[in-house]
Subunit: 681 residues, 2 copies
């Protein structure tokens, strides 16, 4: 029978008996308790802080006396003097077992700590990054038994950290000898081990204990914008978020025009590759500056993007993606050195992970949404729509997940709209039209006031009212439909038909005037018939894609809808449904997931297991190619009406009653009946 003291760890509840004198860190390791340590128990990294509890613990059947741990020692005193230890804390590598004890491991001392995301519904990310820090003491060289410095470092990692094998490239090798000597044979190495790697790679080496942190980037590379989150790889904390325009816009607004540019200009793909890589290099520099860290501490980057951006980022000509059968060069995930992509401003040995693509039109961004939103784990049938220049659509539950993409075009982002603009100060983002007076009131980015509220003019004085952004145009069109200014077919009525002088003639059609600052030399903001047609094309494509997946799933309705994408976060769900962007559903079952693709990228950055998971999930997703489904065209045509020609919207009808005028006097045919150009971007 053992008489060794009992050690109980919380919150894990793991317990075991250990001889007197066993350091708590050692006990934790033997029990598999998640207790961090970078220095390997040498009392210098302070990662293994624990809190002993004293007194009676009937739950654990333990009484902890004052002398349960060894006395506060000189190493702890030195650390406390220098950095300060929180009251009650001990260093797990210094405090040793003297009697029965209960030890709490605070979250910040756990390697696999959970990072709680802002959205309450979203799952937490468990930290388990591919790149980690290890402090080692390396044996000095000995002429009598000559081995290389790398081999002795390798041995140290094996003996002190159970790491079997490491590899180092020449750029690391060239630092190895001076750093080992500068650190007096004590160094910290950052090791990267991907989920498919059998050997860890030395990404960086510092003399002594490295305390400068370790960072990763999660990048959502969109056709229009590039958004990056700089994440602390030890804590999971987002240190800075930053974005910039995709400079490829100068080669084409949408993806298909970029593919065309590549087809028509020899070397055009390389130009675009160079442009986007340079932009990412700049983004890395600026985000590091913003966070106040050295950019060389960025050792990992995860990318999510659509297939065309995927190819252009990787330096692969996207030409095959522009024509059937839309063959990807590779659909699997990619793990490669950042420098192979000329990403030179982060650590020179930084590693890149790119999520797998689902199909030729459904990219790694959609995979990232699937990783973040987990439709395959949903009990109810969920439709996830990532609204961007191209829409990615997922439909599924625990039985099955389907995916497709649909070429909505850039109208939802305010492009190809007469008064459209990107979401920036001065843009109209919300709008209401009085159903009686037909007068509009609106809000502008940069102010919380409505245009008919006191002080609005002062608040927007510096920016002015410059145009309508994506969410603004959706509300405007929906409000026009609700107010009876627009008929089901999408025609704007005349002043006579609608009873408001705001419906002004424009050629053979009409436009609705929202704001006129032309007297003061400002813009005249209208919604034109052309704008309506552009929105109709976009929303029909989106709806048709969703409908196609529902056909495949053999359902007529979905249980809930998730709007993803940065833009999705700003859409009014009611207006989106009035427009018929999404299938009918109870409004309270329509939610926004924010930038789910970006969140997926962060998950893949922070948790290496999620990479294997999403690769497995993507293999199991059923891919639907909208371009070759004859029914897509039928769905598209039927979806042209606002909200829809044939599909009933009973849930919508519970909250909104739509008037039913008809402004078609034979002068204009309905849009969408003809052949449409396939458009991506």
């Amino acid at each position: 029978m053992t008489t060794d003291p009992l050690v109980v760890f919380t919150p894990s509840g793991k317990r075991g008996h250990f001889p007197v004198g066993t350091p708590i860190l050692t006990a934790a390791r033997q029990l598999g308790v998640d207790l961090d340590s970078v220095c390997g128990g040498r009392g210098i990294c302070s990662k293994c802080q624990i809190t002993p509890s004293y007194g009676e613990f009937p739950k654990h059947g333990v009484t902890v006396s004052e002398g349960a741990l060894s006395e506060w020692n000189a190493v702890e005193q030195r650390y406390d003097d220098k950095r300060g230890l929180k009251p009650g804390r001990r260093l797990g590598c210094q405090a040793s077992v003297q009697g029965d004890v209960v030890i709490d491991v605070p979250p910040e001392s756990q390697v696999h700590r959970q990072v709680v995301r802002k959205a309450a519904a979203a799952r937490a990310i468990t930290m388990d990054p591919a790149t980690r820090l290890y402090f080692v003491v390396v044996e000095e060289p000995d002429m009598h038994s000559p081995t290389g410095d790398l081999e002795r470092l390798e041995r140290a990692l094996r003996e002190q950290w159970d790491i079997e094998a490491v590899t180092a490239d020449l750029t690391l090798m060239s630092k190895l000898q001076p750093v080992l000597r500068k650190g007096k044979w004590e160094v910290t190495v950052a090791l990267h081990k991907g989920h498919k790697d059998s050997v860890a790679r030395i990404v960086e080496i510092w003399p002594g204990l490295h305390e400068g942190g370790l960072y990763g980037l999660a990048i959502d590379l969109g056709s229009t914008t590039i958004a990056a989150h700089l994440t602390d790889l030890e804590t999971g904390e987002v240190k800075a978020s930053s974005g910039l325009m995709n400079p490829q816009i100068r080669f084409g607004e949408d993806l298909m025009s970029r593919v065309s540019y590549s087809m028509m200009n020899p070397g055009g793909d390389q130009e675009m590759t160079k442009a986007v890589r340079e932009a990412i290099n700049d983004l890395v520099t600026s985000i590091a500056e913003e966070a106040g860290i050295d950019a060389s501490l960025i050792v990992e980057t995860v990318f999510v993007c659509n297939p065309v951006m995927h190819h252009l980022l990787l330096g692969l000509d996207p030409v095959e993606l522009g024509q059937a059968p839309f063959a990807l060069a590779t659909s699997e995930s990619m793990s490669l050195p950042a420098r192979d992509m000329d990403l030179t401003t982060m650590n020179p040995r930084a590693q890149v992970y790119i999520l797998p693509c689902i199909a030729g039109h459904v990219g790694a961004d959609c995979a990232a949404v699937a990783l973040s939103e987990e439709p395959g784990k949903s009990q109810d049938l969920v439709l996830i729509v990532d609204v961007g220049t191209n829409a990615e659509i997922l439909l599924g539950n625990t039985s099955r997940v389907l995916a497709c993409s649909s070429p909505t075009g850039p109208a939802f982002e305010g492009a190809q709209i007469s008064s459209g603009q990107r979401a920036a100060p001065g843009a109209i983002e919300r709008i209401e039209i009085d159903p009686v007076t037909k007068e509009p009131r609106f809000r502008v980015i940069g102010s919380d006031k409505w245009s008919d509220e006191d002080g609005f003019d002062q608040e927007i004085a510096t920016t002015g009212i410059t145009g309508i952004c994506g969410s603004g145009i959706i509300e405007a069109v929906a409000e026009m439909r609700i107010a009876g200014l627009l008929d089901e077919g999408g025609l704007i009525g005349s002043a006579e038909q609608t009873g408001t002088a705001r419906c002004v003639p424009e050629g053979r059609t009409h436009a609705y005037l929202i704001h006129d600052a032309s007297a003061e030399g400002g813009p005249r903001i209208t919604v034109t018939q052309g704008d309506i047609r552009a929105i109709q094309l976009a929303k029909s494509a989106l709806y048709a894609g969703a409908r196609l997946l529902m056909d495949e799933m053999n359902v007529e309705k979905v249980d809930r809808v998730v709007l993803a994408g940065a833009f999705g976060a700003h859409i009014s769900t009611k207006h989106a449904m009035v427009l018929g962007m999404i299938p009918d559903a109870p409004l309270e079952k329509v939610s926004s997931a924010g930038n789910a693709a970006g969140t997926g990228a962060r998950i893949a950055l922070c948790n290496i297991g999620s990479r294997a998971e999403i690769e497995r999930v993507v293999r199991e997703i059923t891919k639907i190619e909208t371009a070759i489904e004859p029914k897509f065209q039928d769905h598209f045509v039927a979806a042209n009406a606002i909200p829809h020609k044939t599909d009933p919207f009973p849930e919508l009808a519970l909250v909104v009653t739509l008037p039913n005028p008809s402004f078609n006097t034979g002068g204009e045919t309905e849009a969408g009946g003809g052949r449409r150009r396939r458009r991506r971007g």
Copy 2:
């Protein structure tokens, strides 16, 4: 009981029964018979040629009738029309079993064919390179089941060649889609799989069947010269050999002066790295041109070199190699992409293998000598001396192998010798001195005639007599010793002491005049007292190194001596022993292995198993560090005498009787008694 026909393969003797209609290639594969095929049995690569034998074969217990194989078919006819098949040959993938048959697999149809080396004693190289060609038919993309082109290529390799997994870098990925389409979904890939790799790497891809061959380079990167052998990776044939001067010579003749250059000039190591890499790039271009092949067909390179060159090639500062404890950055073998070393003129995805280093002073070149000469497999005790600017010395037999290096300096290569020059036309390479008249006769590189033979003057008219090369100076000094012009201590006698006016005063010492063309404005070629001292330092270092290994092995003599190195091939063994360069041994037991390091590089290039072998061997070699062995200095001083102060040379005495004059009149102290500068290079 089977009634299927019996197929017997020669030379392997493998046999088995196969159903009528089984292609010979299939039968060979099932039996594990070494029969090549790149196209996978599609009748287009012709690698699987076999020769059926007909008649009675009592040895095999078989009678082969005329109809034992299927009839000559259209595929064979087409191939024969186009390329020609040797009489009696069939394509193994087309000819099928119809009755009992004996099939000979000619050497050129064997994958693991043996390449017989020129030196009769040397072992043959069995072809088993890391990079091989595979022809595959790839499934076309299908929108309904979207996968990437890479994944379909991967599947084809798995299904058609049992290759589990492949990887491709971005430069290859960017070719993938156009090449697959150009080849109409039939492509040849070159796959590289190193002996430590779990995944094969696609090095190159060609549309259709690639018939342009595949090449590798074995490079012996010396301090002074860089020698390369361009080798056909399918046949093992050396297609071209080429060499050039190491441009690092401008930073220092010997290795230690290059290390000093690096120490004293910030960035000096990078300058030297750049210089040698550029030279290798040029060498690649020129050797490919010489062989008439496209340099991009060079997909592998093996390097052997000493530790300082190793570090400078890899871009690692060699400073640690210049001071105790002579720590290598890494001692293990290296496998890395050529482009990581800026080697850009070969295939952009070419792979480099560098043999392991043995110790801080004993490099991959010595490992290559061990691979080529296999001292660990020798029954008798063999001393292997690789004579270069730095000498690598191996001593061993099946029980144990020891290694060291010794800093001989460049005297043996004609450098630091008053009339010394590199081995080039015009250089005196052989010399005899008449022991009676003390008159010399000599031979010059570029002519087979001795200087006292008719027609000598005409033959050397274009080159003249320009100096003495390494082998010439060794013979000159040894001949002077035999002729009594030089005493045991290394002093040259005066004209009075020696009785010849060719011993001319030079300062307070004397020189021996070999050739005087000064009257015609030509050189005056002498061996000076300084030259003797330089040779004494060099040979003492060499001998002391060998002696140290013999001490460690606890032997007083060795069974045989192998002189390696390009220079070793030209040394007269008798003269080397008169000089006391090597320990006493029967002259017939002293042989030359030619450029053994270069041969080792070729073996590692052609046979991947040899890489694992040499890595194992190197780990087992006992390393002796001459710099810290106190006895080295004693051996060095004792070896200063010619041939030796104390060691008897009984075997030498059987063939040469050395006179024993003494010219020391107190005017000069013997060299070697003082402290010596450690010199490498």
